[in-house]
């Protein structure tokens, strides 16, 4: 019963918050609304740090959402909007930092990791090949013995 009540509360509360947002910001088209959602999803809240301004409830995020919306109404491009926030709050507010000398290592790390992985795999393969050719697993004597044993077994099986 308690679970049911909680569930219903959660449902009504979530519906309410969605209604609240669309009541505040009206958009001319679906596309514009999507653009707004994308923008606020990739801007980072300076106060709460690990949230984007879409998720954050802090007053500063609310102000930032307002500015994003107002600038969109004034016809600003995505770059202009992000740039205007970066000029006030710093590079920190971008979840995707620009590629420059400072962020190069950050961007290059995945490629470097893959490269190192490939080198390790290549090393292992080359080594095992080399080991295989340098020392054959069986001497010719042993091979002859095995052939003989197998032949005997096959004869036994067919008989």
């Amino acid at each position: 019963m308690l679970r049911m009540v909680c569930f219903l509360l959660a449902i009504t509360a979530s519906g309410y918050s969605v209604a609240d947002v669309s009541a505040v910001y009206g958009f001319e088209s679906r596309g514009e609304e999507q653009r707004y959602q994308n923008l606020i999803a990739e801007l980072r809240c300076p106060k709460c740090q690990n949230q984007n301004i879409a998720d954050s409830n802090s007053p500063i995020s609310k102000d930032m959402r307002n500015v994003v919306y107002q600038m969109m109404l004034d016809g600003a491009s995505n770059e202009e909007i992000v740039e205007s926030l970066v000029s006030r709050f710093g590079e920190f507010v971008k979840y995707k930092p620009d590629l420059d000398s400072r962020t190069f290592v950050l961007w290059a790390t995945p490629a470097i990791a893959v490269l190192v992985g490939l080198l390790v795999v290549a090393g292992v393969v080359v080594r095992s090949r080399r080991a295989g050719t340098a020392a054959p697993a069986l001497s010719s004597e042993e091979q002859a013995r095995i052939d003989k044993m197998l032949a005997e077994r096959n004869e036994g099986g067919s008989a």
Binding site: P46, P59, V86, R88
Partner: protein
């Protein structure tokens, strides 16, 4: 080769250790201001104490000032108030207040009761100048030089230690450089 591989864990531990050690003592919630080295943004807002007067960025021309962002809703601002009073009494630097997202009556009562360390207080009920300054949480304190350029931003409470070790050296340096 096998022997060298035995040192791999040690190498990894050293690298990870250096990276983690570099992070110790850094407070990730304190961000450098994007405005350092730039002119204070243009604004046109009322004076808190004289509602008929309109203030603008010309307020910061002519001498080094401390710009302190505060509000009566902010407990940490109450915490630093006595330290600001002390700085004001010692007259080391002029303090300009930015009353941020507050209402005038509450702010005036606060200054009346706790004392007024500010030469002038800019009244910014909607937080527009605060937003242009990149304020993300009061209290914040900016050092602004005589030509209106932002030299430093401190996020958090100003206490004796912050004043002596951070703000005063920045102010002195700004003075020396004219």
């Amino acid at each position: 080769m096998k022997r060298l591989l035995l040192f791999l864990p040690l190498l990894v531990a050293v690298v990870v250790g250096v990276v983690l050690f570099a992070g110790i003592g850094k407070d990730p919630t304190k961000l450098d201001s994007a405005l350092i080295g730039k002119q204070i943004p243009a604004f046109s807002l009322k004076d808190l104490k004289q509602p008929e007067t309109t203030l603008d960025e010309g307020l910061f021309q002519g001498e080094i000032t401390l710009l302190n962002v505060w509000g009566t809703w902010c407990p940490a601002c109450r915490d630093e108030h006595d330290d600001l009073m002390k700085v004001a009494r010692e007259k080391k630097v002029a303090i300009i207040g930015l009353n941020y997202k507050d209402n005038r009556d509450d702010a005036l009562v606060w200054l009346d009761r706790l004392g007024d360390p500010y030469r002038t207080v800019i009244y910014d009920p909607k937080g527009t100048l605060g937003f242009d300054l990149g304020v993300y949480g009061a209290p914040e304190t900016f050092v602004i030089d005589a030509s209106g350029v932002v030299r430093y931003r401190h996020v958090g409470v100003v206490n004796d230690q912050v004043w002596e070790q951070i703000l005063l050296p920045v102010i002195n340096e700004a003075r020396e450089n004219g």
